[in-house]
Symmetry: C2
Subunit: 225 residues, 2 copies
């Protein structure tokens, strides 16, 4: 059995990769170089895939800066650093990249059909400060229909299924799951900045640190602050 | 009003661009350099967009050869040249590129949301020898749901709509429509080969020539045979 795993190098997608391995799949990872703010997370993705011993890893390159529209693809838009954690759950943040998951899942679908994989794993999460529209269950269900109707494999009754093992988990529960599966947290990268060590102050770092803290655990990643 | 138009440089997408202009939209075209067999159709797309006087034209680059899977992205798979026109409507051809329209529509969605466009035009066609799963109405309907649920704009009740003016037209009817709209056929490119003149013998050329012939019209494009 083969699976394609969307691997960004963050905490969530790394946990998903280890879940797919635990589920018994031969894992093929796909990562994206879309001219995001830094390549640091991409390096993390490659290191984790190697550590996990995947069958194959693909990096797809394109340039979302050509039209921008997000703090991650336009340097003129400032990264969020001081948002209230409660407020973060209410609105769609400036780090939202238009249609990013749709683009990612489309490439994953193309790759999965080409290698005759049974499923695609993605680490979306609908809870815990996720204002992103393309992380919610109804969106995933709509993409599942696209997977079924938009491919030869799907039309022949062998639809590639989308697996979202984290979609209803809290960040603390994801860390607990990752601990159980042996995810190498020290290789993962969540920080919006691409420095040598994680900044510890951006929204992404704070979310991660808060979850480790809540569990009474120490995040093994090095932080500047 | 703004629209994003998927423009490959072929007969269908060129007609769609002229339809979008006739519908009153400020047109932004998007074309793809995915390492297809030749760049000839891309040059045609740019020439047509310029001739039509579009507001902006984007070319998105990525490499579908990294996993292949189609006669258009893998030189080891031979191009179809002798298929019976009737047979062509029955099965999915080797020129099928896994998830291609899903990838194209995903980028069009990202671009459309970034520029706050109202719709995306695509020249899919469900009749006339189209064995492609991602050209059928049920697939387009599934993508429409993704457009609605996967974006900020869609979640706020301003969903970007997918327009498919050719979906139920025969090739001959598309040519009649294009004639009415003034599509510059001599700038379009349908041939699977990327030579100076169209080959006239590949399935794509034959389909085009048959349609012009059926209407008693002469295709203004130069052909080798």
């Amino acid at each position: 059995m083969k699976a394609v795993i969307l691997l960004s190098g963050g905490l969530d997608s790394s946990t998903v990769l280890y879940q797919a391995i635990a589920d018994g799949y031969n894992c093929h990872t796909i990562s994206f170089d879309y001219q995001q703010r830094h390549r640091r997370e991409l390096d993390s993705a490659l290191a984790i895939a190697q550590k996990a011993g995947v069958v194959d890893q693909q990096v797809v390159k394109f340039d979302l800066r050509q039209w921008g529209g997000s703090a991650l693809t336009d340097d003129a838009i400032e990264l969020p650093q001081k948002r209230d954690l409660e407020e973060m759950s209410q609105s769609i943040p400036v780090t939202y990249v238009p249609a990013r998951n749709t683009i990612f899942l489309s490439f994953a679908l193309a790759y999965a059909e080409t290698i005759s994989a049974q499923c695609v794993y993605i680490g979306v999460n609908a809870l815990d400060y996720s204002g992103y529209p393309d992380c919610r269950p109804d969106y995933i269900q709509a993409m599942q229909e696209v997977f079924r109707l938009g491919t030869k494999q799907g039309r022949e009754g062998q639809s590639i299924s989308i697996k979202t093992p984290l979609i209803q988990l809290k960040k603390t529960e994801i860390i607990q799951l990752g601990n159980k599966l042996g995810v190498p947290w020290e290789l993962t990268w969540s920080c919006y900045q691409g420095d040598d060590v994680a900044c510890g102050v951006c929204d992404s770092c704070r979310l991660r640190l808060a979850a480790f803290g809540e569990l009474g655990l120490k995040d093994p990643l090095a932080y500047a602050k």
